[in-house]
Symmetry: C3
């Protein structure tokens, strides 16, 4: 058989390094498409001039676009037979990605734990995105539940990696040369600086977008993500196409511009949960909570740790979890990340 | 509150200059997307070679794409609380926009007139789009009806600017170096030159496009236009998303290629009315009327003043207004502009 | 009348050369859009680095994107009044197309045969796509059935060109410098090389995509294809928009990555039939059959002749024709092409 059946739980070995296929050169086309697909307005990613005033050579590709390109390559090897995408940890953006850069991905298996039912198990991988110079531009841990193909395959010794709950502020990597000393708040779109945000503060981002089949498929294909469930309406019994969780992440992040216009660069992904599936026709809204703040060594640059929550329109203000500690059904995403903001 | 509530009528002052946020670097990505979103076929905007033969350094971004980029930036400051987009005047394109250029926008408040009901008023702004060299590439007046937030806010002295009904032909700015002396009518797509069009002539552009939700949202986001009503199906009581008027403008202009393939560059916007709202599922058709003609100083270049009318499929031929002088319900757009055409 | 009514059968003359309008400069924008519209993952077209390792200066635009650009230009002159798109033959890609290249098209009428009903006839054209250097990058024959406008127009002497059933392997043009000697099968996505494929082998490509109105219209506009039936829901009596056959070709080709990831470059189109019309909502799947194999003079490069069949989801495995020799109703496309593959 020449087609890719995907890997099953018993096909992974601790320490194994998987080199993912189909490297990708990004261009202004990816940038334009990202801005057509999401209401992204971060000035640093929209304007070469603004980026240069911030010490970068040009406007990078949006951080989440770089994430999606790196992530998409892992799907055929990691999550084609996944039952669930369970979590993210220790994500760090190490270098901005510019038009003309070529990205590839590789993953190391760092954890394996079979479920008690013997039919599936959790696979933990550390994925790295590398550019054409061999520099790692993105590094993150993801774990997924993967089906077993042969139920009688031997159960591996369980290995569950010890993952940081949060990337420590001291480990955040600030792009070389970045400065917010000359930051133009008017061009950026909001006057609120790092000092204006208080830990515990919550922001309702107000705006909403009703998502369409054509849009999430355009996005998901652009990232060369091959999971059948996003594209093939005959795949699920209910005839619905599941929207790639990354589409919801990018939509919510873009919506968060309204209130967080100056949370410019994402530098770390601490944790993330796709709380409920999202389908075409859903109107996505978002809210954020300031979880932490830290100083950095770069001129004028502070770090802010944010919870970004995507919800369906109509959800109660700042809806998250019920009394049982479980996500409410109207919650789509709960993401925990660090961003850089002018002090 | 950190999110942008938009400005209300009482927040504007005559003479105030508003610097709009989020500058934008355009690339071949914007060009490709423009041609995917609209059936645009103007040779000067499609081919670097054709543009060079016309004396330009490369194919510019479509004039209306430049307009949308400049316009989109004004929305958060000018029309977030607008009840209606009332009109355009004195629009002039002063310099073509090329891939690699970075655009920003600024508006000066030139008129204010409260409505007799005391609940809203008209705001007139002159908006300028500037490139990275600080050159004004586009200049136009727009007026909108904006709600008051505090009904007891004082009524400003009414100022209604004295606007030209039509940009005089002598004020049209021809891009430096432009020549149609070596114009290739075969490559351009039609043999009809400036001399072949008669004032009063009407042209039915025949073709139609049925618009989809995904398309108008992709377009409107690409221009970083943030008006909620275009994206959020829960915003209006009827659950419909209003299509950005600029989407209809670009669609009608692109359709007008069939009969006006040589009306290459738009150099002035004399007036414009969004006669009726447009929603997904509408099939847009277009017709034009030659309103005036003028010579220019550039070699082989004539100017033609056109009325461009977008209608719903099924409208009577050249439908415009009823006996009562009001736009017919099947009319979507009535636009008055100057274009450049080979003599 | 200034609009283009299209040509009718009686308007063509044997030997006539038609220079098609609207040249097109392609950029990274076209590449990004192609990858957003189709699940295309060929490494040579996705990565500048992979292309350079294969001896090319950069990643070309996908071969079928180049085909669509060239084809789209012919529509206003060849198929605006076509009743049916009957076939392709003798198609050869002669030079890769890179971002920055400008394409134009020209067609020579090489065959005319009126139908016995006197109301229509078949028009055969040889179309060439040329770049800005005047090099022919693509050359193919297409024939269409075109309506007569004046039923009393004289019947031309029938000329039916003698077309090759298959482009001989010796006539395939290998891009200058191409080498697969250092081919990285891991980055390409599959281990199967030319030697692993047997003539007669059939491959079910497994994946499927459910197509949307917005997507096929974006694609078809991007290629500046003006056929009304793709865009205007009021054009057909049943209110449906017919999907451009080329959209199905690109979708099927992209789906064939799963099993044919190393069939990198398309170098010849031997034959093609749009077996049944495709409409929005259809889930497209694909299968291939190895028809032939040949060696080439380029290092490490073999040629493989493939039948690519697009079917609707739910079709029987390898469905093609019924006992009556006619295509089954669930078959959309039957394409015969040569591709280059590492030996």
């Amino acid at each position: 058989m020449k087609t890719n059946p995907g890997r099953f739980f018993e096909d992974y070995r601790i320490g194994e390094v998987i080199h993912h296929a189909v490297p990708r050169t990004v261009s202004g086309g990816e940038r334009a498409l990202y801005h057509a697909l999401y209401p992204a307005r971060g000035a640093l990613y929209s304007s070469d001039e603004f980026a240069r005033a911030s010490g970068l050579p040009a406007a990078p590709i949006d951080d989440l676009a770089a994430f999606h390109v790196v992530f998409g390559k892992t799907v055929p090897d990691i999550s084609l037979n996944a039952v669930a995408n369970l979590g993210y940890a220790e994500g760090r953006w190490l270098d901005p990605v510019y038009p003309g850069d070529t990205l590839r991905s590789q993953s190391t298996v760092i954890g394996l734990k079979e479920n008690s039912n013997g039919a599936s198990g959790n696979v933990y991988v550390r994925t790295q995105g590398l550019n054409q110079h061999g520099h790692v531009v993105l590094d993150y841990v993801r774990w997924v539940m993967v089906r077993k193909n042969r139920l009688d395959a031997p159960t591996p010794d369980p290995v569950v990696p010890d993952l940081q709950k949060v990337v420590p502020a001291a480990d955040l990597v600030i792009p070389k040369g970045l400065t917010f000393s000359n930051y133009d708040f008017t061009l950026a779109g909001e006057p609120h600086r790092w000092g204006d945000y208080a830990i515990g503060e919550k922001i309702d981002h107000v705006d909403g977008v009703t998502v369409e089949e054509a849009e999430h498929m355009l996005a998901t294909r652009l990232w060369q993500n091959t999971a059948k469930v996003h594209f093939d309406a005959t795949f699920r019994e209910d005839g619905r196409r599941l929207i790639y969780g990354g589409h919801v992440i990018s939509m919510a992040r873009a919506l968060s511009f309204n209130g967080l216009a100056n949370a410019q660069m994402i530098v770390a992904l601490n944790a993330g949960a796709h709380a409920n599936p999202c389908f075409s026709g859903t109107t996505i809204k978002a809210w954020s909570e300031v979880l932490d703040k830290a100083e950095t060594s770069a001129p004028g640059v502070g770090a802010i740790r944010l919870r970004l929550v995507a919800v369906k329109a109509g959800a109660a203000p700042f809806a998250l979890k019920g009394a049982d500690g479980k996500y409410l059904p109207e919650v789509l995403l709960d993401l925990d990340y660090w961003a850089l903001m002018p002090i």
